[in-house]
């Protein structure tokens, strides 16, 4: 009698699940499939082919996948190799509080290659993947100009405060903030474009908006003072780097795959205006799939003519962690992070650190998030190429998430004897 188990059946999305099969004929070749429907009804699927051992067991912690969406030993492979049925969809949880993602795991006792509505799996399990833990509170923020959602852990606190910034495509992405809050941080998922009454297009980056947000967070009861962290990706990382340079409230900044200079629209802070380096649309490159690679479009911060746009990282009062995917097809993030590190070093600052992940693409997300290789972006006529090699990208996400939490704990939590 076949048995398919997945433990725990209900878990946080950044926790692993142990999947096992028992009761198979010795050396039987089987197919394990995972499927998930997102909140818009889009189907995501993955599959892998395994051979049972002499005792008729498959254990994803030990057994090699022979083929399918991944090969080798990958405990969480079925999750991070989930692919959209309709090309170029990205998997994003909208409601992070009230419902999980339901993932169906199916076992077939042969190589099941096609999807059939009529053939039933031999065994099936459902697992729940939650984006917030018990006791997490979510507060919609509409104070002053600030728009976003604040996630607070249960308990008295104080909790280190973090602002979470995503890329420049609008709306509010909350899932990383809610997961980080579940790990003990007070996190403000901050929108800055095309959300509620925020402007639809980014015409300039007004750092005073982000300062308002930082002050708002610090004013909340239960938030650790005197400084906050910022966790950021893509255009958000460029903005975060600017906050590190100009705002004393920001003492720990994590920049994932961002630019080290002001790009496309000007940056303003009080009377300071930093002019941008413009991207050259003519250097875009179309990938064989039809998705567009923008990696070569950004201007060169090392060009003398662009000097005034480079962010003065040497002025940052806190610490900066650069997280970089070497296979990022959207931006040459490694080069820009290295330039920023060089800049720090040449000014005698030792508060910068860089983590380079070979094979990781642009969208480095919390662990087990499926690699999104390319997806549609609001306002663009064709999909954007993000890049990444699946197994390497998955490993990078796991490692980076641990480093992100370590970094914030190290730089945001006051200990009695601080050096």
């Amino acid at each position: 009698m076949f048995q398919l188990t997945a433990t725990p059946a209900s878990a946080l999305a950044d926790d692993s699940v142990h999947i096992q099969v028992t009761g198979l004929p010795p050396f039987q070749v089987v197919t394990l499939k995972a499927s998930l429907k997102d909140e818009k009804g889009n189907l995501f699927q993955s599959k892998a082919f395994y051979r049972a051992n002499e005792a008729g067991e498959v254990d994803l912690e030990q057994t090699l996948a022979l083929g399918g969406d991944y090969v080798g030993v990958h405990l969480m492979g079925l999750f991070w190799s989930l692919k959209p049925k309709k090309a170029f969809q990205r998997l994003l949880k909208q409601d992070v509080m009230n419902s999980p993602f339901w993932v169906t795991l199916d076992l077939y006792d042969y190589i099941c290659f096609h999807d059939s509505a009529t053939v039933q799996p031999r065994a099936s399990q459902m697992v729940q993947r939650w984006f917030s833990g018990p006791g997490i509170q979510r507060k919609q923020i509409r104070e002053g100009r600030v728009r976003g959602a604040l996630f607070l852990p249960p308990g008295e606190g104080p909790f280190p405060g973090v602002i979470d910034l995503f890329g420049g495509f609008g709306n509010l992405i909350e899932f990383r903030a809610s997961l980080l809050a579940t790990r003990g941080f007070a996190v403000l998922a901050l929108a800055y474009i095309a959300y509620e009454d925020l402007p639809d297009k980014l015409l300039e980056v007004d750092l005073e908006y982000f300062e308002e947000a930082a002050n708002l967070l610090l004013a909340y009861p239960k938030i650790q003072k005197p400084g906050i962290g910022v966790l950021s990706l893509s255009k958000g990382a460029e903005i975060a780097l600017a906050t590190a340079c100009y705002l004393k409230q920001v003492v720990a900044t994590i920049c994932i795959n961002g630019f080290n200079a002001v790009s496309n629209v000007p940056l303003r802070y009080r009377d300071l205006v930093v002019t941008p380096i413009r991207s050259g649309g003519e250097r875009m490159q179309v990938h064989i799939s039809g998705a567009v690679c923008y990696r070569h479009c950004h201007g060169d911060p090392r060009d003398e003519l662009n000097r005034q746009s480079v962010l003065p990282v040497e002025n940052a009062q806190g610490c900066i962690l650069f997280i970089v995917g070497e296979d990022d097809e959207c931006i040459d993030s490694k080069a820009y992070a290295e330039q920023a590190m060089d800049q720090l070093q040449s000014h005698g600052r030792s508060c910068g650190r860089i983590l380079v992940y070979p094979g990781a693409g642009h969208l480095i997300e919390p662990p087990y998030a499926p690699l999104c290789f390319a997806s549609w972006v609001r306002g663009f006529s064709w999909p954007s190429l993000w890049g990444g090699v699946p197994a390497a990208h998955a490993a990078a996400q796991e490692h980076a998430w641990g480093e992100i939490q370590k970094f914030f704990r190290q730089h945001l939590i006051q200990t009695r004897s601080k050096l």
């Binding site: 083929g67 399918g68 190589i111 991207s279 250097r283 875009m284 179309v286 039809g290 479009c297 006529s381």
Partner: protein
């Protein structure tokens, strides 16, 4: 005054076109876009960005593109980088006789913001006609005995070398390569063998006698100059092409593109001799980051012990041209060709040539055909990864096409001096 020119406007698909723009502002960036609607109404697009020189000209034979669907010096890049609106569509001409593919070329000021909607007006445009037949080529539908196909005859008096053209598991009748070969002086029979007319969709055996009938049919034709016949074949067709060369002495030239060099799928039969197919390991099928399926590991574990599935290639009297795309993700063409060549070498034969193209994928077609990244074969799979990197694949197609014709002429056209 801005002018866009392309010479020649009307040509065979395997002929290059010289594209130029004049009357631009010196050093301005422009975008050139190509578009095509296939016979099913599906759109294909490509674009490239160029910077005009000091006298306001862009010449695709001289200038490198800055970005777009290709980067660098590629005079025919706009054609071979055409991409379908729906990602899994392959560009294939059905009616090769009566209409060309029309390619619209458009020139825009590059005023292109990052959201890629051109904001300026069209500055110039023209239409190219890309034909699959030269003037005077005739097509005859073939329904003789069991044979199903289309015969293409070059224009003019006299006799021409004969070639049989075979495609793969896609099935149906694919004519575009045969019509082009006829345009270059070969009598070419595009031969269907599955999923066409009364031919079964999934034949239970591969019956070489069917192909022998085709060889005899061709040799009987008044415009065919024997005694040798050639075969141009790809994928599953190449398994058949190889077997034809081994068992039928009339085959003096066999072009085998990205094929298995052993029997796959169903038994291969010739007059009582049965070659059993190499078993496949379905668990070795992989799926790439975009969800396209790769079959090239299928025989990795079983090939070695399957000597009875291999044809006695050393018995072939004709010549072989193996064409391999090293980035083929559908079939392990490189290894397959090596196995066949090893067998020839071990038997002291040197009647073969190998053309191995790094970066080329499975679908090595005549020149300027756009690289199809992945597409479906209805009854097999909806997204098969063919493999290949666009620029080396395009170069491979150009080079291979010339070599194929040279090879066929060398081994099919008797010379007045005695052959070695």
């Amino acid at each position: 005054m801005i002018q866009l020119t392309a010479t020649p406007l009307t040509a065979l698909v395997d002929e290059p076109v010289h594209i130029r723009a004049t009357g631009l502002t010196p050093f301005q960036v422009v975008s050139l876009q190509a578009s095509l609607r296939d016979e099913n109404g599906k759109m294909f697009y490509s674009r490239a960005y160029y910077r005009a020189n000091e006298v306001g000209e862009v010449d695709l034979e001289r200038d490198s593109s800055l970005g777009g669907d290709y980067v660098g010096l590629h005079p025919m890049g706009l054609i071979w980088s055409l991409k379908p609106e729906n990602v899994l569509t392959r560009l294939m001409k059905k009616d090769v006789m009566n209409s060309p593919f029309q390619v619209q070329l458009k020139l825009y000021d590059s005023d292109l913001l990052l959201d890629n909607k051109p904001t300026s007006a069209l500055k110039a445009s023209l239409t190219l006609e890309r034909w699959y037949v030269a003037p005077g080529v005739t097509r005859i539908l073939v329904r003789e005995g069991r044979l199903r196909g289309a015969l293409f005859l070059p224009p003019g008096e006299g006799r021409f070398p004969g070639v049989i053209d075979l495609f793969g598991t896609t099935g149906g009748l694919i004519e575009f390569r045969a019509s082009l070969l006829a345009s270059h002086g070969f009598v070419c029979l595009a031969l269907a063998f599955r999923g066409y007319d009364d031919l079964p969709l999934n034949p239970e055996i591969t019956d070489l006698e069917y192909f022998e009938e085709a060889v005899n049919f061709l040799l009987r034709h008044p415009k065919v100059d024997g005694p040798g016949i050639g075969v141009v074949s790809i994928c599953k067709g190449a398994e058949i092409g190889l077997s034809m060369a081994v068992h039928l002495k009339q085959i003096t030239a066999a072009v085998l593109i990205n094929g298995p060099t052993f029997t796959v799928g169903v038994p291969h039969v010739y007059r009582g001799q049965v070659y059993q197919p190499v078993p496949h390991s379905a668990q070795l099928i992989t799926i790439n980051a975009l969800g396209a399926v790769e079959f090239y590991h299928l025989f990795e574990e079983t090939r070695a012990e399957s000597s009875k599935s291999f044809f006695p290639i050393e018995k072939a009297q004709g010549h072989f041209l193996f064409i391999v795309g090293e980035e083929d993700k559908n079939i392990n063409s490189k290894t397959n060709a090596e196995l066949a060549i090893d067998q020839l070498r071990r038997n002291g034969k040197n009647n073969w040539t190998l053309l191995s193209y790094p970066g080329a994928g499975h679908l090595i077609d005549p020149p300027y055909a756009p690289l199809c990244f992945a597409s479906g074969i209805g009854h097999v799979c909806s997204a098969i990864h063919w493999g290949g990197e666009m620029i080396p694949h395009a170069a491979a197609q150009e080079h291979a096409w010339k070599e194929i014709q040279k090879f066929l002429r060398k081994h099919l056209i008797p010379t007045t001096t005695s052959k070695l």
